[in-house]
Symmetry: C2
Subunit: 631 residues, 2 copies
């Protein structure tokens, strides 16, 4: 494997920003119809080339008069004027208002010649007994209730400056000016080339046995490009083959202002990309001193700019967001979004000593005092769930080796629209609770298992924990709700091996799949073996050892059943509900209680009260799940 992949001379983040800024993505301005202009950025200033309004305009319904005819008029002593005619909005006046006369006029109509003011209709009456005469019960000054031509904006005046973002308000002003189309900043075009033999586009067929995975970066980065004001094009997937990758990269370079390659973490793909950039462009930097994201390339490819993103999705999106999105926004003329930041208290100490700037993804939760607690979300760069389990990033500089619990940190939210979840819960991944979550606002649940859920609740981080089965160490908590679920052994449909319970597994040689010790199902299974051991007057450890696969554990509650479904096991630990959902057989062992337990300090938090209310209405959820009943 090549030396350079170790990135021994990493570039400082500031230099990486400079390198990308030097690439100059400069799209041409374009002309768009006003109807399509929302969100675009004005390329040039816009001056009014007509007066708005274009004529002296009545701003009230009433009567157009010569103001001097009304001087002295009041309720007690109205002036009486002859009605000379009427003017309606959208038509040319066919009446002239001479001294002693008036004309009915509607809001928006052209002031007739002669008239210099409008009396509002509420201050007038038809003169009693007189034909075509109007009583005016107030005096008006010249110009009253008249908007003169050009009073809003006059021909020649500057209406909007270059770089203005077109929101409905600016579109309103442009409409008033009669602008049918408008010159806006072009969107930089960004070609996205995903590389790596193992990648399959979402929607395609996956062969996991051959190590294939879905291509996460292409659509993720494409939507990031669009969010930043660019226009993304996905190029057909290129494997690790040099010729195919060169073809994809150079086509993208011909057609786009910027080429992003992204996808593979495999050594051969990285080598090929290097080769193409060195042959047909110029490499400005490779490797930047941030975590996640070290392996980043910046350069030119043909006449286009080029940035190579790391392969792992969290790294790719972090590098894109930190270094590439600002350059796209600059090229598009889109203002940097107001950085939404939140101050919070770190909920657990964090050690770090790699000497690189760290962009630490974190989740947020509000505690009982309304303060924000911040906890790191670090499932490894290869995990895609951490994309949605974090709310923002804490930047930890290269020299900081230790952040203490309770330390104040500043979190940069992923976007200004990110909100702290209304509820944070950890614990057992239970199908009833999972359905309940669909009824809650912006809740977040992390399925870490009962034991870990309780541990986090003890540490005071989550609002609630979901706990199933026997508990070793109690935690002070308030029970919000509980239900029973039937568990046992999931076997192939029809139970071909005649499994009757754990005894069959102990005494036979069937392949079993277990769950992780953090889960409540596993705790119940362990307890069942203790009971069997007592009955057989032996040791539970011996019984466990007698079951083929008792130590082979999976984390997710459906996973053992799915191994059985796939024919890779003869029995798995699981729920009756899972067996029936997957059309498998089920050998019941027992029921266990699932309890939703709240952090006692937070029972009055809105999200917890919302959860409590949802739990009160859980019956219809339980009714739909085989083996689930009220506690």
């Amino acid at each position: 494997m090549s030396e350079r992949k170790e990135f021994r001379d990493l570039t400082e983040p500031a230099k990486a920003h400079e390198a990308i800024a030097s690439l100059e993505l400069d799209p041409e301005p374009e002309t768009v119809e006003l109807a399509d202009a929302r969100g675009r950025i004005l390329a040039e200033r816009v001056d009014a080339d007509l007066d708005v309004p274009g004529f002296d305009r009545a701003s009230m319904d009433g009567y157009a008069v010569q103001a001097s005819d009304t001087f002295g008029a009041d309720e007690a002593d109205p002036a009486v004027l002859d009605l000379a005619g009427a003017v309606h909005a959208g038509s040319e006046p066919d009446v002239v208002v001479d001294a002693g006369e008036c004309a009915e006029i509607s809001t928006g109509a052209v002031m007739p010649d002669g008239a210099d003011a409008v009396v509002m209709v509420e201050k007038t009456d038809e003169a009693a007994g007189e034909q075509d005469a109007i009583e005016i019960r107030t005096s008006v000054a010249p110009g009253d209730h008249v908007m003169p031509a050009g009073a809003d904006i006059a021909a020649g005046q500057r209406a909007l400056g270059p770089g203005t973002e077109l929101t409905p308000r600016e579109i309103g002003l442009l409409s008033a000016l009669g602008t049918g189309e408008v010159e806006v900043r072009g969107k930089p075009t960004v070609g996205i080339v995903s590389t790596g033999d193992e990648l399959v586009r979402p929607g395609g067929e996956l062969n996991s046995d051959a190590g294939q995975i879905y291509d996460v970066n292409s659509y993720t980065i494409a939507s990031g490009v669009e969010e930043a004001g660019g226009e993304a094009t996905l190029y057909p997937h290129a494997g690790d083959d040099m010729a195919a990758m060169e073809e994809a990269l150079t086509t993208a370079a011909e057609e786009c202002d910027l080429v992003l390659s992204s996808g593979s973490t495999s050594a051969s793909a990285v080598d090929v990309v290097y080769q193409v950039i060195e042959d047909r462009g110029e490499l400005l930097l490779h490797g930047v001193s941030v975590k996640p994201g070290k392996p980043m390339l910046v350069g030119r490819l043909e006449d286009s700019a080029y940035v190579g993103l790391p392969g792992y999705p969290v790294s790719a999106l972090t590098i894109f967001r930190t270094f590439v999105a600002p350059a796209i926004r600059r090229a598009a003329g889109v203002p940097e979004p107001r950085t939404a930041t939140v101050e919070g208290t770190l909920a657990a100490e964090e050690r770090y000593s790699e000497g690189r700037t760290r962009l630490m993804p974190v989740g947020l939760v509000e505690n009982e005092a309304g303060e924000t607690l911040v906890y790191p979300v670090d499932k490894g760069s290869g995990a895609t769930t951490s994309l949605v389990e974090a709310d923002g990033v804490v930047e930890v500089d290269a020299d900081t080796e230790y952040l203490a619990e309770g330390e104040q940190v500043r979190v940069t939210l992923f976007s200004p629209s990110v909100r702290t979840p209304s509820l944070l819960a950890f614990g057992e991944d239970d199908p009833a609770f999972s359905r309940l979550l669909d009824r809650l606002g912006s809740s977040r649940f992390l399925p870490v298992g009962s034991r870990e859920g309780l541990r986090r609740l003890r540490d005071g981080l989550p609002d609630a924990a979901v706990v199933a089965g026997p508990v070793r160490r109690e935690v002070e908590a308030v029970e919000l709700g509980a239900w029973e679920r039937e568990w046992g052994l999931v076997v192939p449909a029809g139970n071909p091996d005649g499994v009757e319970g754990f005894g069959t597994l102990i005494d036979g040689d069937l392949r079993f799949v277990n769950l992780d010790t953090a889960t409540g199902l596993r705790a119940s299974a362990d307890a069942e073996l203790e009971r069997l051991a007592a009955a057989r007057d032996t040791d539970a450890a011996d019984l466990q050892a007698a079951i083929d696969g008792y130590e082979f554990t999976l984390k997710a509650h459906e996973s053992p059943a799915r191994r059985v479904l796939a024919g890779n096991a003869d029995a798995g630990l699981g729920l009756r509900a899972t067996a029936e959902k997957l059309g498998l057989g089920f050998v019941p062992v027992d029921t266990q209680t699932v309890r939703v337990r709240a952090n006692p300090a937070r029972v009055e938090k809105a999200g917890v009260e919302e959860l409590k209310a949802a739990l009160a209405g859980i019956d219809d959820v339980l009714a739909e799940l085989p083996g689930f009943t009220d506690a």
Copy 2:
């Protein structure tokens, strides 16, 4: 005019919200490709239907081993294992790792059978002198550097809840799950019918003499609909003709979830809309107790919801934003945007006593202490420039009759992306200064004339004022820059009337057009007449009276010249630069100085420093403007 148009029984804002909420706009969910899913809202929860990763996966480049073979190995005493083969990302392992063996493996590759851990390449070496043997210089535990199948997310687990907005992060997770298309909330369809004989669509030909104006509301409201997550359709413009309007309204009602009519303020159009709603639907309320926006209709039209917006653009957009946009967002499943609010100090007292809730548009400026000053922007509802001159709204409740200067108010910004302008200047609308503005960030300039600019500077509101010509009352200020401009009389090309100066106008009977007394040009013209009066030993007032049209004033500096261009005047007050720009003749009278004067407390404000720097480079601007020179 009909009784009901006076809206004597206005509805409280809360009731209006209820009426609109009762209309139920419920679009059907739709299926979109993942590439088009950004910004959409998940209609249903998404569960994983496969394990991610789909196989036990190496998370480092290195060697796959049986962990037990490495126990006890370290730098001093490495284990040596036979190299049994290699596994690359994206291919099926064709090697089995037995005890005493290892296989080269790359990040992302499938773990070969037999192996249960990976040793990172940095801790290994090819064994010296031995063919196909690897030195392992560390011990690893089972599972080290392996991401087990389903560790990221496992089949059956809940991935995303209903109502989730799809940002790049969620699109990343959906990609990992292989989701090619996704079920999202439908966008409510909104038909927009503009009514009123006087309205012309932007881009069309305008006949101002007939009182025509451009239709501001259609595109403005359409873009507001899209911003709120709806899909807008503009229906062909309907005049005040009953049949045409009924046709437009009922077609829109057949095709859309919601019909908005908007446009005319004219009585007849309002009457026709009433008639149609009463005949073919149901009117739930008419008139709401807010300002601006009183004339609002809510009802049903055929099977569609209907809201009638006021005709004036500021009123229409305010009502739309306050009452209709939240309903569209709810129907689209789009979360309410985080309301961006700013606390500020009212810069001038405000009286108000109409007994309606007032949504007062305001502008913002930051003072020397970094505090936000808030000033009302009230140019009348008919003005479209106030759409872009305000930054947000202060809600004043119906019972508040008076807000004192210095009172703290809360401003709801028009959107979270609205920023306080970096610079606020008032004063003379000068073409050189106007061009300079194009070089400044987010500046705001209000062309109120020199006199008014000075007055506002004296009151301490703006950062700077632009002042031209003689000044009556001095103001303490810091001069940031100055230049000279040549002014005089703009006449038709070739000066057909042989105008030589004001003398010609005094002694002849040519039609003159003047500028408003707030402008510096007018101040210089007045001074010139004083000088002429002294020379002729008479009174300036007499000379003014002798000029036909001296009292006929316009506000914008190009407007008199444009009257001359249109043939409606023989001479107008103006600049040489304007005359040359419009191809007119020019009779020079004098030059005047334009000074940019800063609020002395704010010379160090960033926006003022930016302005000062721009003024230092004004020479190229002056060079392009005839009659403009350095001061």
